[in-house]
Symmetry: C2
Subunit: 76 residues, 2 copies
Amino acid sequence: MKARVHVMLKTGVLDPQGEAVRHALTAMGFDKVEGVRQGKVIDLDLAEGATQADVAEMCEKLLANTVIERYEIEMV
Amino acid sequence: MKARVHVMLKTGVLDPQGEAVRHALTAMGFDKVEGVRQGKVIDLDLAEGATQADVAEMCEKLLANTVIERYEIEMV
């Protein structure tokens, strides 16, 4: 059983890492890039019986800083 | 137009960041976690006319280190 978690900065929170990537891409001639946001993806291998609620608890307690980050969980 | 790029370490490449997350989750009592891999997600806002091939070129040249990382592109 697997879960994929995306952790992204909330809209409105400055993303200097994404901004650096955007700047680098533009400098390399990729002129169609209008914006970049960078986040984390965490792939979890879970034992049988783990639920999406367990993963949400992991996000709240460890994986995301919910003051500035939001998370999305996909069970796969 | 938007693209989402996932950059993950290739299978077999040691992932100390993922391993640290797994260790922390286990120490917090989440005993159903069997493995963790951590990667990057990059959301791109693109001007009209940008193609998946453009994004693949960005990955090859900047976003991923293809010696140790693989990437997946989703156009959304």
